[in-house]
Symmetry: C2
Subunit: 297 residues, 2 copies
C-alpha cells in the first residue's frame, strides 16, 4: 500500500513535469498565420497518461541520470505516441470520433489537417532530439536510431499494418505476439532504452533494459486484451468486449482469460528478475511495471 | 546545346544511380508477412525525376565530395518527397487517383495502408541517415537537423497547411511567396544543403548554397505556376489552367504571365550569381538550375 501511494505521487509529479515541458516545446502562438501548432497542442495536451516519457524518466533516474537533461527527449516519445493516435483515429483507419472523452482531431480540424498534424509531430520528434543541446552528439544519434527503429517499419508501423491485415482472420499465437510486440511493445521498449541512453548506460545495462522493456511491453498489451473482456464484464454485467465484437483475435480468444493472466504475470516476473542484474536499486522500475501490468483500466 | 546534352546525360546517369540505390534501401522481400515495403516501393519506384537527390549529389560533386558516400542520404530526400506525395494524394487532401500515369497508392492499397506507408517512409528517412556508417556522427546529425527543419512545421508541412488554409481566399504576394518557399522551396534548399554537409562545406559555403537553394526553390515553383497556364494553353489551345479552375492564387493570377516570367528569371540569375563566390567551378549547379527554371513541363 505504501509503495502504491509512493508510485502514485511519482506518476503525478513526473506527469506534471512532462505536461509543462510539452507546452514549452509546442508554444501556442509560434506561427500566427496557420493552425498547425494549435492542432498539435489540441491532441498533445489531450490528457494522456504520459506513460512513455515517464518510463524514460524513471529509467534515467534509476541509472543515476539527470531528468531535467532527459526531459526533451522523453517528450519526443509523447509526440510520436500522439501522432500515431491521430493517424489511427482517422476515418480510413479506426474511424474514432472520440479519444479520452474529447473529439478526435479530424472532428475538430479538416481531415487533411489532421494527417499533416500527425506528420508534423512525427517530424518534430526527430527535430527536438537532433537539436537538444543538453545532450551529447552521440546521445542524440543513439536516441534517433532507437526511435526510428522502434517507431518504424519493423516496429510500431509494422504492428499497425499487421494489425489491419489480420482483421477478420484466424491468426495464431506467434503472429499475435508479433503484432503486440510491434504495435505497443516497440515504443515501450524504446522508452526504456531512451532512459538507458540518457543516463549513459553501459552496453550490458542496455541489454538488460531492452529485455525488461520487451517483456513489460508485451505484458502491457496482454493486459489490454484481458481488460477488454473484464472491464466490459464489470461495466455491462456481461461479456461484450469490443475485440470480440470486432472479431479480433486476442490473447483471451486464443488462450482464455486465465491462461492470459498467467502469461502476463509470468512476463512481469521475468521482466522484474532481469533488473536484479543491474548494479542499482530497480524498485522504481518494478513499481512502474507493477502499475502497468496490474492496472484495472 | 552542348551543355544541354551534357546535363541530360548527367541527369540520366545520376537518376539511374539513385534508382538502383533506392531498390537496395527498400528491398522487396524484407518482411514477407506484411505489405508495407511493397507499398513503399510501389510509390518510391513510380518514376519520379529524382530531382532532390540529384541536387544533393550535384552539390556534393561540385564541392569535391564523394557521391558514393552521399548516396544514401540523398535517397533519404526522395523518401521524404514520396511520403509527402502519398499523403497529398489522399482523398482528404488533393484526392488524386493518378500520379505519373499510375494509380495513386490509396487506389491500389487500402487508404489506411497508404497513410501508414507515408509514415513509414518519413520515419525511414531518418533511420537511413542515422545509421549511415559512411558518414561521421556530426554529418549525420547535421543532415537530420536540416531534414527535420525543412520537412517540418516551419518548412514543407507548414507550406501544405498554409496552402489548404488559403484555398478560395484572396492572398497577397507576400503570403503566396511564403507558401511557395515552404511547400516546395524548403525541400529544394534542404537538398542543396545536404550536398554541402556531405562534402564538408565551410560555414561560408553553406550560406552561399542556402541562398542559392532558396532562390532556385522559389523560381522552380513560380515556373510551376507559369507552366500551369502555358502548358494548358499548348495542350488544349485555350486557357484552362488547373489552378484557375481551383480558384487558386498563383504568381500568374497575381502578377500576370510576363511579370511572373521576369520574377523567375531574376531569381535564377541571382541564384547563379551567388555561386560565383564559391572557390569551385559552379557550372554543374548552374546547368541544373537552368534545367529546373527553364523547363517546359
Amino acid at each position: 500500500m505504501k509503495t502504491m501511494l509512493h508510485i502514485d505521487t511519482y506518476l503525478k509529479s513526473r506527469s506534471q513535469l512532462i505536461e509543462e515541458h510539452l507546452t514549452r516545446l509546442i508554444p501556442e502562438k509560434e506561427v500566427p498565420y496557420h493552425t498547425l501548432f494549435s492542432a498539435a497542442r489540441y491532441s498533445l495536451m489531450g490528457g494522456g497518461k504520459r506513460l512513455r516519457p515517464i518510463l524514460a524518466l524513471a529509467t534515467t533516474e534509476t541509472l543515476g541520470g539527470d531528468i531535467d537533461t532527459a526531459l526533451t527527449a522523453a517528450c519526443a516519445l509523447e509526440l510520436i505516441h500522439t501522432y500515431s493516435l491521430i493517424h489511427d483515429d482517422l476515418p480510413c483507419m479506426d474511424n474514432d470520433d472520440f479519444r479520452r472523452g474529447k473529439l478526435t482531431l479530424h472532428k475538430v480540424y479538416p481531415e487533411g489537417h489532421a494527417v499533416l498534424t500527425g506528420d508534423f509531430l512525427l517530424t518534430h520528434a526527430f527535430d527536438l532530439i537532433a537539436n537538444d543541446t543538453e545532450l551529447t552528439t552521440d546521445q542524440r544519434l543513439q536516441l534517433i536510431k532507437t526511435l526510428s527503429k522502434h517507431a518504424g517499419g519493423n516496429g510500431m508501423i509494422a504492428g499497425q499494418v499487421l494489425d489491419i491485415q489480420s482483421e477478420g482472420k484466424q491468426i495464431d499465437l506467434e503472429r499475435l505476439r508479433l503484432i503486440h510486440r510491434c504495435k505497443t511493445g516497440a515504443m515501450i521498449t524504446a522508452s526504456i532504452e531512451f532512459g538507458g541512453i540518457l543516463s549513459n548506460a553501459t552496453e550490458l545495462e542496455m541489454q538488460i533494459l531492452r529485455r525488461f522493456g520487451e517483456e513489460i511491453g508485451l505484458a502491457f498489451q496482454i493486459v489490454d486484451d484481458i481488460l477488454d473482456v473484464t472491464a466490459s464484464k464489470e461495466k455491462h454485467g456481461r461479456l461484450v468486449p469490443s475485440d470480440l465484437t470486432n472479431h479480433k483475435v486476442t490473447y483471451v480468444t486464443l488462450l482464455g482469460l486465465e491462461e492470459s493472466q498467467v502469461a502476463a504475470q509470468t512476463l512481469f516476473q521475468s521482466a522484474c528478475e532481469q533488473l536484479s542484474a543491474l548494479s542499482v536499486d530497480p524498485a522504481l522500475l518494478i513499481s512502474l511495471a507493477d502499475v502497468l501490468v496490474h492496472r484495472k483500466i
